[in-house]
């Protein structure tokens, strides 16, 4: 079987557009996911039973449903419903909004568990030291515990981001043109589908390998850093 790579150089600008969508999903998913994850982790650890239960329920639900279905539901039902209520009569491009929301909320459930473990890894002694100085629980959490927890979690949080970048290819089920789907479309049109899919795979491989290497470097640095 002979390969024909000639169509790739010319289609790089189109593929780049797709890459921007992929990166957008990753970036928003990571940022919103971490912020919401911190909130969920704090609720989960709060002494209020109801809040703790709600947070646990959220995490369990999102971790028990395949991401593909979450994407479908957000695309077909939830986002059109919400946007229809907020901006009646307008026709908006909903696919990207659906993808960004679905990934953010989905990732938050994973980040919540990572961050909860991070918070629990900070010792009771540190918590007590903060309290003994007269800080209230919220201050101790924000000024003493969370900074230490997040520092310890950085490698795990970034590894999760790499997984998210790979998972972002799932948006093909809602016809959103990310990098992978652009490659697929180009290949389909030109008739070199195998080549384009191989190429796309190689790009993901290179990016993720490089990113993993960076995380490892960072991890080495962080363990040298003055953290107990």
């Amino acid at each position: 079987m002979a390969f024909d790579w000639s169509s790739i150089p010319g289609s790089l600008p189109i593929l780049w557009q797709g890459m921007i969508v992929s990166l957008q999903i990753t970036l928003v998913g990571v940022l919103v996911g971490i912020l919401l994850g911190i909130l969920l982790a704090l609720l989960r650890l709060s002494p209020n039973r109801l809040l703790s239960w709600l947070s646990a329920a959220y995490v369990t639900v999102f971790r028990s449903i395949p991401l593909v279905m979450v994407l479908f539901w957000f695309h077909l039902i939830l986002i059109p419903l919400v946007v229809g209520l907020l901006f009646p009569g307008k026709r908006l491009e909903l696919r990207l909004i659906a993808a960004l929301t679905a990934f953010s909320l989905f990732e938050a459930s994973y980040y919540a568990e990572i961050i909860r473990a991070g918070i629990l890894s900070v010792t009771k002694g540190q918590f007590n030291a903060g309290l003994a100085l007269g800080m209230n629980r919220r201050q101790v959490m924000r000024l003493v515990v969370l900074p230490q927890a997040l520092r310890r979690m950085v490698p795990l949080l970034l590894t999760q981001a790499i997984i998210l970048f790979q998972d972002s290819t799932l948006v093909y089920v809602i016809n959103l043109d990310d990098f992978f789907r652009k490659a697929y479309n180009v290949g389909n049109t030109v008739g070199t589908l195998n080549e384009l899919i191989l190429f796309a795979g190689a790009v993901y491989l290179v990016i993720c390998t490089l990113a993993s290497g960076c995380v490892r470097q960072l991890q080495r640095k962080l363990t040298v850093l003055p953290v107990k």
Binding site: Q126, A129, A132, G134, M135, Q148
Partner: protein, 242 residues
């Protein structure tokens, strides 16, 4: 200054404290000793509300610790505490460790807080260390910073929970020296420790605890020379013969 009245505490079925009572007057230095597991640390943590107790009362400077209406953070900000494992905040520099609560709890300006911190670091002999991080200091240095951090809040009393137990032998004295100076400056102190040399030098009274009970509570002289109970005699013979 500190009044502990009939305090009892249970962990489930296990009774950790049994009707413990004692008083620490202003300017007094009281040492609590006893075998491990005797409830010393639990009792001292009850004083600033880090541990709760089911029965009895503790009053600090006229404020009840057990009263639900008491502003515990405020009460704690007026009682310094030094821990066995130092508990400096590892992500903050030495200087920031000492200024954090001054700014966030007492509302002091950064400038005021830094001034106070520098002054206290000089007092404990660590002025040069302020930009470093806790992990770069020896255990003895870390504990001296921890004392400075507690003193920065201008506490009315200081609690020490086995402050030298986690230290290498050669570092114990540098910490005890700071504590002796503090005692001689008139600070009210409640100290859980096995350092009987420290007790003999600066304590006014010694409390001996065993099985969650205050077994003896007497002036140091009579405690060391004529312990009343067999349990205290046994304990003293074990730690003083070496």
């Amino acid at each position: 200054m500190i009044s502990i009245r009939n305090v009892s505490k249970w962990y489930g079925e296990f009774q950790a404290l049994k009707k413990c009572s004692t008083e620490v007057d202003k300017g007094e230095v009281v040492v609590i000793c006893g075998p491990s597991g005797s409830g010393k640390s639990t009792l001292i943590k009850c004083v600033n509300g880090l541990e709760s107790f089911q029965e009895g009362e503790i009053w600090v400077d006229g404020i009840s610790v057990a009263d639900r209406k008491t502003d515990l953070p405020k009460l704690r900000s007026r009682v310094g505490m030094v821990f066995q494992h130092f508990e400096l905040f590892p992500h903050l520099s030495i200087l920031d460790n000492i200024t954090l609560a001054q700014c966030r709890v007492l509302g002091r300006s950064k400038k005021q807080a830094v001034e106070k911190a520098v002054q206290l670091l000089e007092m404990v002999g660590l002025a040069e260390q302020q930009p470093k991080f806790p992990a770069q200091l020896s255990g003895g240095q870390q504990q001296r910073v921890a004392i400075a951090r507690a003193l920065a809040m201008d506490p009315v009393a200081m609690l020490f929970d086995e402050p030298t137990s986690a230290l290498d032998p050669e570092m114990i004295n540098e910490v005890l020296d700071v504590m002796v100076n503090l005692a001689q400056s008139g600070m009210t102190m409640l100290v859980v420790t096995h350092e009987m040399g420290f007790a003999k030098r600066v304590a006014d009274r010694v409390i001996f605890m065993d099985w969650g009970e205050v077994v003896e509570d007497r002036p140091k002289q009579t405690f060391f020379e004529h312990p009343e109970t067999d349990r205290a005699r046994q304990f003293l013979s074990k730690i003083l013969t070496h």
